[in-house]
Amino acid sequence: MPCKVIFTAGAKGGSGKTTAARFVLGYVHQQGVTPLIMDLDDESKSLSRFYPEALQVNIHEEFAHDVLIEKATSGRQALVVADLKGGTGHEILNWFLDVPFNDLRQEGVEFVCIGSVTSAPDSVQSFLNWPAALGDRVSYIVFRNLKDGDQLFDYENSVQATEFRKRLSPAHITIPKLSSSYQAELEIRRLTFFHVLEGSNGNSSDGQPLGPILGTLMARARLRSFQARIFEQFDTVATTLLPRQ
């Protein structure tokens, strides 16, 4: 069975990698695909907070990341979504350099690298380490996360990011800024958009109370419209995101 491995990349913490992964998961779920979710961020375990079913990996063990390849080649998974650790991406990048991409491609395993850049210059710098090392062996989807401002100057106007866009033709998804009160509520209550939008009677889809801010009709309408704007963009990169039939 062919398998697609979607992984988040970028050494900088707080650039929106997990947010990007959450939107990807929301989209693929909506398309009727159930991926294997892997949380390789042992410090914040941020994806596991929203997806308790995520497989947590102890990355301190030697060759711990090999499990990613084992799952991808097991023949049981069509899609693996892995959230990698932020802050120190070097060990993981080192591990990726050992991956036999050509052999895996012949087995039907493809890799999609998800980057997230914000207006913080370091988010661009840290992400570019990945395409600089992995080149065209993986596909790229870059999330332009506007949470800290609309101007992504270093991504749009630097020599290095321009070269990246020209050479490796990444797909782009723009995440607009979400109301900070909604963002905070989602984080505190460990809810995804899916949990809120699929919930009913003031409760999320997994039975948690949505509270006075997220529980209102208008809040849900705004979240639905916000998500729709992102999912419309996903439709244009569906072939990159979804597993091959």
């Binding site: 070097h90 710098q125 570019l128 395409p131 065209d136 020599v159 290095q160």
Partner: protein, 168 residues
């Protein structure tokens, strides 16, 4: 002691450290380029505003007791140069792909303290120096347009070369 404990910022480092190779080159010419001319050259070409006396002190503290102040031999510094290469005369120049920006980068490019692995082959991104320290080169809209055109031209050349290799 309380003051020392509150000193959390990085130690001061001269902005001239980044262009040490270039200063050394100008000072080792015979006759050496005067400090005043070096200062005006740096201002015009790189947009670095610096007093001639500052350059003199910069050279003096690195002269290691030479009677006529001079920077140590170039060899020891060449591998510290950033994303610049050297032209035929050995003068540090930026990578041909990187246009000379009129807008200075937030921090000049430098070799990162913590290296990030790359493959041994030719780098996929020729203008990018792996590392976690910011070393991107910002462009004005005009520079960006010119750079994109140059990049397009190079990519087209690469494509043609690949196709001709396949044909062989």
């Amino acid at each position: 002691m309380a003051v020392i404990r509150t000193m959390t910022t990085k130690p001061y480092q001269s902005k001239l450290v980044e262009i040490e190779v270039e200063i050394a080159r100008m000072r080792t010419r015979r006759p050496p380029v005067p400090y005043r001319r070096i200062a005006s050259d740096l201002r015009e070409r790189l947009g670095i505003k610096v007093d001639p006396a500052t350059i003199f002190r910069f050279v003096k503290v690195r002269s290691k007791g030479r009677r006529v102040y001079a920077l140590p031999p170039l060899k020891s510094r060449q591998n510290r140069s950033d994303n610049r290469t050297q032209d035929a005369r050995g003068i540090a120049v930026q990578s041909p792909l990187i246009p000379h920006s009129t807008e200075r980068t937030a921090r000049p490019p430098r070799v990162a303290a913590q290296s990030v692995p790359t493959t041994k082959k030719e780098p996929f991104l020729k203008t990018f120096i792996p590392g976690n320290q910011y070393n991107l080169t910002r462009l004005s809209p005009e520079e960006k347009e010119a750079f994109e055109q140059e990049l397009e031209r190079q990519l087209e050349l690469d494509r043609q070369q690949t196709e001709s290799r396949k044909g062989d």
